[in-house]
Symmetry: C2
Subunit: 168 residues, 2 copies
Amino acid sequence: MKIILYMCITANGYIAKEDDNTNWISGEEWDSYSKMIRRAGCMVVGHRTYDILTKQPEFSELSAVKVVIVSNNKVTIISENHVIANNPASAINLLKDFDEVIIAGGGKLNSSFVVEGLVDEMYLDIEPLVFGKGIQLFSPADFENKLELIETNKLSKNTLQLHYKVLK
Amino acid sequence: MKIILYMCITANGYIAKEDDNTNWISGEEWDSYSKMIRRAGCMVVGHRTYDILTKQPEFSELSAVKVVIVSNNKVTIISENHVIANNPASAINLLKDFDEVIIAGGGKLNSSFVVEGLVDEMYLDIEPLVFGKGIQLFSPADFENKLELIETNKLSKNTLQLHYKVLK
């Protein structure tokens, strides 16, 4: 099984504004993200990302996808495809029949997976903007990972996708 | 005059570890940075970056460069080419005879320049690593800038340079 972190970031590493706003993410980026998740057939998100993502109209594209929400709080599940896990290892165990698993935010969830050395690859789609306050790709935690740049793709004139392998 | 922010970052937007460590920056990245600064003939840095940069042996490559340190504290100047300014506008005024000015960190200085709308272009060299705690490219502040991706360059197999125009 390959565990892939897939996130859209600003050029200075934010995944959302302080109020969770991600309306600066382009349609081309969403299409790439959606396609990758549908190919994998499953994704792992935190509670807050789940609540935001499932409220977006585009989420209907992902109706067949198995979603694992990592949370220790009560989560209101909106589909029978969606299940809850208490920690990263349990989430992965629930998805053991999949070849690829997409880790899709937010910053706290992303950190919990890299801290445990569970991420094999990262796709970082860089939108052409910077802002000064927001939610970081990885919420502050003790880890360090060297990466290998596998490839870069232009998703549009100004949006660049970096594809990295995590060296272990 | 063109004001260019030039920084090396991790794939998640840090410019240094918490203890100012930048030993993860590659020789190829330094060479690109050094060349750009020598071409411009001048650079602007914050007090902490000045103290760190001038202690590095490679700094001798930049001995002919005019350095403006933006600081309201006492700074120990090590060359007659180096001068102090109290704020971004004064720093730029001291460099009005140059065609290009390089803004070179740290995060607080970078933020002070973008908040005032002074940056025209950004070069972001992305080293192939992520770590979980450190100094952000821009210290948290209220600003937002849309960018246009001018070009990308590979500085080495795994180090990518993104060159952006700041849209105003």
